[in-house]
Amino acid sequence: MSFSRLVKSLVLVLALVSVAMAAQAPSQIEKDIGDKVYCLCGCVTSLNTCPHPNCEVKDEMLRIIRADLKEGKAEPAILQDLVNKYGEKVLAAPPAHGFNLTAWILPGVGLLIGLFLAIGIVRRWRRPTAQAAAPAGAPPVDENVLSAVEEEMKKYVD
């Protein structure tokens, strides 16, 4: 193959690739929005993952998103447009205001309460350590001996 034919072939390949990619590949912002909203056709999945071919609801939602993007709207404004049309249920996560705030707060509160409970239990379980209870003047336990004993215990008691 001559060099010029090789270059022509490469150009043709690149042109075809770019055509194929430009035809359908959604932009990053469109994909991001598609992850943040649900398709309301009944598939119960995000817009990006709706499994229905030629889904009318999905097409309609994509039309709104693309039109907004063309107008230069930012992501929050586009999401608001979708909420205005379909209601809050279109959002893949409840907006953090009003009662919906509890959805976001409760897991964190639960985690903290659990942590305090665990700390409380540990404190209640604690008893004076052997060293504290040891009579005055008793020789201190050698750390090396203690850790060797621990290793032995791990082998057999575990």
Binding site: Q24, V44, N48, L91, P94, N100, P107, W125, E150, M153
Partner: protein, 674 residues
């Protein structure tokens, strides 16, 4: 055969009621004769539910569309391999399947405990048969799979059979669907047995270490099935749903995760009770919660109360389940409350730096995960009830809440086993943590310089390295000690070490599987996707891969028509493979489904979906996803399964302990009979 099945259902209900009552009487009166009768009722219950299951399978296999359930979920063209899953393809069959699996579990519990746990068995039977009564009643009364179709004519009502059935949902016609639901159900149903053991131990005041020792194994088995079912479900979603993911935080997926998480907490905290006699009340709460969530999961899956991609039917079983869940909660908490005095902690904690507190914090994280998943799952219902607003709680919520929890859990998976029981000295901490931390730091550094800058992804891989190193170090240290003391070579020492304490080293292997699963999760951060319209000769580039459309063909199989695209794939100019994504149109069901084409390596999956045909150009819409590290999720799942199986093998220590317990039990039994 329809009548045979219906008779089986009625008889199963009768046996369940009798088993429940006779079991309770046997427990109250301590009557061996009554216990024998209750045990026979269990076997009768098993025989009758088996009869009903065989009858329904027969109707499905012979295309008997007089049966309303078979007509709704099967068709003549449905391949034979998918006629067996007709049993669990719909509401009525699923509930019968649940009942049948319960009967198998209870029959096994009875047979394996003919000479053991005699004091516990009466109430175990009563409780399991109580659960069996509920499900038999539901199957018989509310969702009977043996209803027949009929036509009202001038001469009266005559039986009717349509020429063909409606078929099975195309998404269920996939090979892992043949085993995924049975695995999940084996997990859900099996949790009834440890729950019954726990309740019986409370009711009989037999709260020594015996019930907890027996229950651990009865919990591990359903826990293993549940975990396997979850992974298989992920595989199904990955291969069938066509969006390139395996977990979408769907309510039904969450429903399976909840009892698994609670069961995981129980399997860990139960060790504290065995070793130190602590956390006795907490363990009871955990086993109650695990069973409660198992029933709740079944309810969520079958009721359609929350919208889900997996909710195959909306039905009126909701109120029945609500009442049953209330009964479980009221009964178990009352029994627990009445026996609180018998559940006093036997020991105190020696040090915060100990295995005990490690387990306690592991429980804290697991329970926080349960709370977060449960709250997110039911929030749409709560929101509708309180503010009359329908909201959706999907992946953005769960990812934000669960990733930090998951990372904390991953850290504890590595750190916990490095702590000794009772007390870990500073020197020991230093020695045990040094190698894993240094290894993790090296891996973390390499990842950072390789361009992994997303915090969660980096942290996840850093912690994976930390946990993996800690596990390897544990095996290595143990083997080295054995080599010194027993003069064995390294591999013999490793084998003997593992078999001496299968539970501990099986547990480490499970942890290693979890690490690999997290590696797979981390790969999602590097996912790449593109889409293009293609006809023969067109090219599409995705990173280093070039796809060329060779041909577009159509064809027909017994139950579906298909369109398929042949795509030759080259990587950096070298021929790699030819992929054949398909779009299938199922004739009986009048539904279409994508059949994904996959080219998998350990590094990444090439995932190609034929989305359909572009209406304007007539070209095929090809969606390409490059999914890094996905295979590690499946490999990790398999390793978790293998580790669990290993942990189930009685170790040498356990066998010695079991002999000791057996002798003690025989003495106790002799006293009991006298």
């Amino acid at each position: 055969m329809n009548q045979v099945g219906a008779v089986g259902l009625i008889a199963a209900l009768v046996f369940a009621i009798y088993g429940m009552v006779s079991g309770a009487i046997a427990g109250k009166l301590r009557s061996p004769r009554m216990l024998k009768s209750a045990q026979r009722a269990v076997l009768g219950f098993f025989a009758m539910t088996t009869l009903a299951v065989v009858a329904l399978e027969y109707l499905a296999l012979t295309n008997d569309f007089h049966n309303s359930y078979v007509a709704s979920h099967s068709s003549i063209a449905l391949p034979l391999v998918y006629k067996i899953p007709v049993l669990w393809a719909g509401q009525e069959g699923s509930l019968l399947f649940w009942t049948w699996l319960l009967s198998i579990y209870v029959a096994l519990a009875v047979l394996l405990n003919r000479r053991k746990n005699r004091q516990l068995m009466p109430y175990i039977i009563a409780i399991c048969m109580g659960v069996g009564t509920f499900f038999s009643l539901l199957t018989f009364w509310v969702a009977n799979p043996f209803n027949q179709l009929s036509l009202a004519t001038a001469t009266g009502v005559t039986p009717y059979a349509p020429p063909d059935g409606n078929g099975m949902s195309p998404s269920l016609q996939y090979h892992s669907m043949v085993i995924h639901p049975p695995m999940l159900y084996l997990g859900y149903v099996g949790m009834a047995i440890p729950f019954a053991f726990a309740m019986s131990a409370l009711m009989t005041r037999q709260l020594g270490d015996n019930w907890i020792r027996v229950t651990r194994r009865w919990t591990m088995v359903p826990w293993m099935f549940l975990g396997t079912g979850i992974v298989l479900g992920g595989q199904w979603a990955y291969h069938v749903l066509g969006w390139g993911g395996y977990w979408a935080w769907d309510p039904v997926e969450n429903a399976s995760l909840l009892p698994w998480l609670a069961g995981t907490a129980f399997l860990h905290s139960v060790m504290i009770q065995e070793k130190r006699g602590m956390l006795k009340v907490w363990n009871m709460v955990l086993i109650i919660l695990t069973f409660f969530l198992s029933v709740f999961g079944t309810f969520l899956t079958r009721s359609g109360i929350i919208s889900s991609v997996h909710a195959f039917a909306k039905s009126d079983i909701g109120p029945w389940f609500s009442v049953f869940l209330a009964i479980i909660a009221a009964f178990s908490l009352t029994v627990l409350f009445l026996r609180l005095d018998f559940l006093k902690t036997e020991n105190k904690l020696d040090s915060i730096a100990s295995r005990e507190s490690g387990f306690l914090f592991n429980n804290w994280i697991l329970l926080a995960a349960v709370l977060a998943v449960l709250w997110g799952t039911i929030f749409p219902v709560v929101s509708k009830a309180i503010q009359d607003v329908t909201v959706t709680v999907g992946p953005p919520f769960f990812n934000k809440v669960m990733i930090p929890i998951g990372l904390l859990l991953l850290f504890l998976t590595g750190a916990g086993p490095l702590l000794a029981w009772r007390k870990t000295s500073f020197q020991s901490i230093k020695r045990n943590f040094t190698f894993p931390l240094i290894f993790a730091a090296i891996v973390g550094g390499i990842l950072f310089f390789a361009g992994v800058h997303r915090l969660y992804t980096w942290m996840s891989l850093f912690l994976c390295a930390f946990v993996a190193a800690s596990i390897v170090a544990e095996f290595f240290k143990g083997a080295r000690t054995r080599m010194k003391t027993s003069k064995e070579n390294f591999f013999a020492a490793l084998y003997n070490l593992t078999m001496r304490n299968t539970r501990r080293y099986g547990g480490y292997i499970v942890h290693f599987g979890i690490v690999l699963i997290f590696v797979g999760f981390a790969g999602q951060a590097f996912r790449f996707e593109t889409q293009g319209l293609m006809s023969p000769g067109d090219l599409l580039r995705a990173k280093d891969y070039l796809f060329r459309c060779e041909s577009i063909d159509t064809g027909q199989k017994a139950n579906y028509e298909y369109e398929t695209v042949a795509l030759s794939v080259t990587k950096n100019g070298h021929a790699l493979t030819v992929m054949h994504p398909q779009k299938r149109f199922f004739l009986a069901e009048q539904q279409s489904l994508s059949h994904v084409a996959l080219h998998s390596t350990l590094a990444q999956d090439l995932y190609v979906v034929l989305e359909g045909q572009d209406q304007d150009t007539g070209k095929a819409i090809i969606h390409v996803i490059i999914n890094p590290l996905v295979q590690w999720v499946w490999i990790g799942g398999m390793i978790v399964l293998l580790g669990t199986l290993l942990a189930l093998v009685p170790s040498r220590i356990e066998r010695q302990m079991a002999d000791l317990h057996k002798n003690k039990e025989e003495v106790a039994e002799a006293h009991h009979v006298l």
